[in-house]
């Protein structure tokens, strides 16, 4: 993933610090985030199994949140790399809901259109589209749509696997649909309204 250029960093620092950011992220997070309690000990960054692929460790991201570096935070690939393994969450000495903060940051980045690589947001969106259409996830549809868009060159390599899955009956060729799609749709429509007003 491309890193921020020096000019951008400088521009970010030249802007006024957005001190509302920390509170905004905290309020948008499910449960009580405890984000303001972070003591920068690095337990999260040390625990993370995928820290090597993140542009900022979670700890550093929290420091940037505090410093009000909105654009840099939302552009970070860190929330998208997070695998939700919750190692950091149970080890955090301050009980910060780290994984849920990552979900919040993803949502904020999508709304602000600030992610620098669309693979992950697109995957999430494709998944959500499937669920909103059928009420269930549909692995074949999901995988094929996603791979075609983002990893067309990987497809030949994937063929034995996909083929194996289908021949072994492990990948349904048609999606399954729930009975009361209308009910689910009504619920989700209402929830989306509420999301906008909250």
């Amino acid at each position: 993933m491309p890193h921020m250029t020096d000019e951008r960093v400088r521009a970010g620092l030249a802007r006024e610090e957005d001190l509302s950011l920390l509170n905004e992220v905290s309020m948008k997070t499910a449960g009580v985030s405890h984000l303001e309690m972070c003591i920068q000990c690095g337990t999260c960054g040390g625990s993370c199994p995928v820290a090597m692929d993140m542009d900022h460790t979670p700890r550093m991201l929290f420091a940037m949140l505090r410093a009000g570096m909105r654009e840099e935070v939302l552009r970070s690939n860190t929330p998208w790399i997070c695998v939700s393994c919750y190692h950091c969450v149970v080890r955090c000495p301050q009980e910060v809901h780290i994984a849920d903060v990552m979900y919040t940051l993803k949502g904020m980045a999508i709304k602000a259109r600030l992610f620098s690589d669309s693979t992950a947001p697109d995957f999430s969106q494709t998944f959500v589209d499937m669920v909103e259409t059928f009420g269930r996830s549909y692995e074949l549809g999901l995988a094929s749509r996603h791979y075609l868009k983002h990893f067309p060159l990987r497809l030949p390599g994937m063929m034995p696997m996909g083929f194996g899955m289908i021949t072994r009956g492990r990948m349904a060729l048609t999606p399954r649909r729930i009975k009361h799609m209308d009910q689910l749709k009504a619920i989700l429509d209402c929830a989306k309204e509420l999301e906008l007003t909250s």
Partner: protein, 669 residues
Amino acid sequence: MSAQKQERIGVYVCHCGSNIAGAVDVVDLANWAAEKLKHQGVIIARDYKFMCSSLGQELIEKDIRELGLTRVVVAACSPHLHEKTFRIAAQNAGLNPYLVELASIREQVSWVHTDKAVATEKSKAVVAGAVSRVIENIPLEEIKVPINPNTLVVGGGIAGIQSALEIANAGFHVYLVEREPSIGGHMAQFDKTFPTLDCSACILTPRMVEAGTHPNITLLTWSEVENVAGYVGNFTVTIRKKARFVKEDLCTGCGICEEKCPKKVIDEVFEAGLGYRKAVYTPFAQAVPRYPVMDKENCTYFIKGTCKACEKFCPTGAIDFEQKDELIHIDVGNIVLATGYDLFDARRVSNYGYGRLANVFTSLEFERLSNAAGPTNGDIVLRDGKTTPTSVGIIHCVGSRDKNFNNYCSVICCMQGLKFAHLVHERTGATVYNFYIDMRTAYKAYDEFYQRVLDEGTLFVRGKVAEVTNAARYEREKGKLIIQVEDTLAGKQRRIPVDMVILSSGLQPRHDAKEVGKLFGISCSTDGWFTEKHPKLDPVATMTEGIYIAGCAQGPKDIPSSVSQGAAASARVLDKILQREVALEPVKASVDQDACSGCRICNGLCPFNAISFLEDRMVTQINPALCQGCGTCVAACPAGAIHGTGFSDEQIIAQIDGLLLRTLAPVGE
């Protein structure tokens, strides 16, 4: 509701700087009291910047003398803080001190309200309540009882030893009770002490010997306090002296029994599980007293009925398998609790692997490992007992500053971690890493020690270690313990392979601190440490008169602080002893024996055992020396036959009327 005889009352409103005046209109309050409470007898109401200052007190004293005040209300802070101050002022001016009431308009008003108008109105109600109540107060006299000059010190660690020695040297008798077979506490287990690297045993053992041989100290080891009754100056304490199965008068401490005992047991206490002892043992060479104890659970004779090797070989016939626990009753005037701490159980931090990964050690294990008298004679080696590590990681804050375990900072771990770094470096030449969140080296010569360890080449990594694992990812990690951590200053995750990991575990309250606190009638903080009377100004006294605390029982601390507290507690004890008698608060319950129906409902309720029942007259009686004035029996008595002085029904009802402003003069009067 007019008072029957007109009192002459003075009301004094304190600004407490801006503490009260910032949220309450103090001038308005004083004027209001002078005008609206005039009919109750308020003849003067003043406000002043600091009522508790000597000038403020003089103001009250002058009014008592010149205006002939018969009652005083001070509207200021909580009675906890300054009730005594103003009572003494009244006494100086010739007024019975119990005719003074404090109206708390700081803790209960100015500190909890932001709206000045509302706060001022509430202050008026609080003052009106105090004025109505003070009219019903009656003069009381303090009760004086003599103080027993003997002292009980519980816990024979360095804090308890220090405390016992100071009192004994002043010429008073001390009973020093210790649960383990020897005094010495945790300090006896240590190898070196920071920051000067004194040999721990070298500086401790002379004190232990002094305590063991002092004519004014009765040493009771392998003993525990079972019961405490009485009150300051007059405690009666029951101590269980556990059977040692060794006759102390015959034993010479030669050690033959220990040598001949065939049963080897892991020593979980003194050797922290890293070494062995016998079933009959003295925990270490310099133990005081030198008599061994027999561990009944592990002794072959007690398990199988045969063996008695110790008895056969004892040259003085001191072994006694028939010995029983002994209950000893002593009378003391004061008690010092120096019961120490437990080490945090590092197995709870399962990501650090202690108990699962052989070469992860706790701090106490490392103390024994590096101690010349320890299981390896001071060789720092891996758990295989022979390999010298070439790289060692020392992890700070284990179990401390962590909401999953203990919230507080354990104070000693940073310096302890630095000490370990120095010892490892000095004795093995290994590469040493210290992992810390914040380096806390406050106090004299501590930071200089940090500088020294830096200079020796120890590598410091700022970051709380995430995990210690034996799952190697790369060739260079194979066979090692890998410490995974975010180096927060470099902003990168690192995996550092080492041979040995030392966990600088935190300190915890004793597992039974709550029960011990209850036994002595003192409370514990939410963390479990004994609560001091005042965190800054009275750190070794407790809310229970005559009970003092010292050392780690009060909170985590290092050796110099523990010694200081031990000495401070004994100064407080000596102060009490030299007063010869103690004045007890006259706030007591008493039984109107004509009204008592003999139902005995109150009998079992008294927490201080002050109530007894007179079988011949079928009525209840309260011992005023034991009564602490808690009021439990007063509330429980169905016949209303028990009265609490200072809290009579008349006083309480008058105060309620005042608070509801029912006592104000009708308009126009």
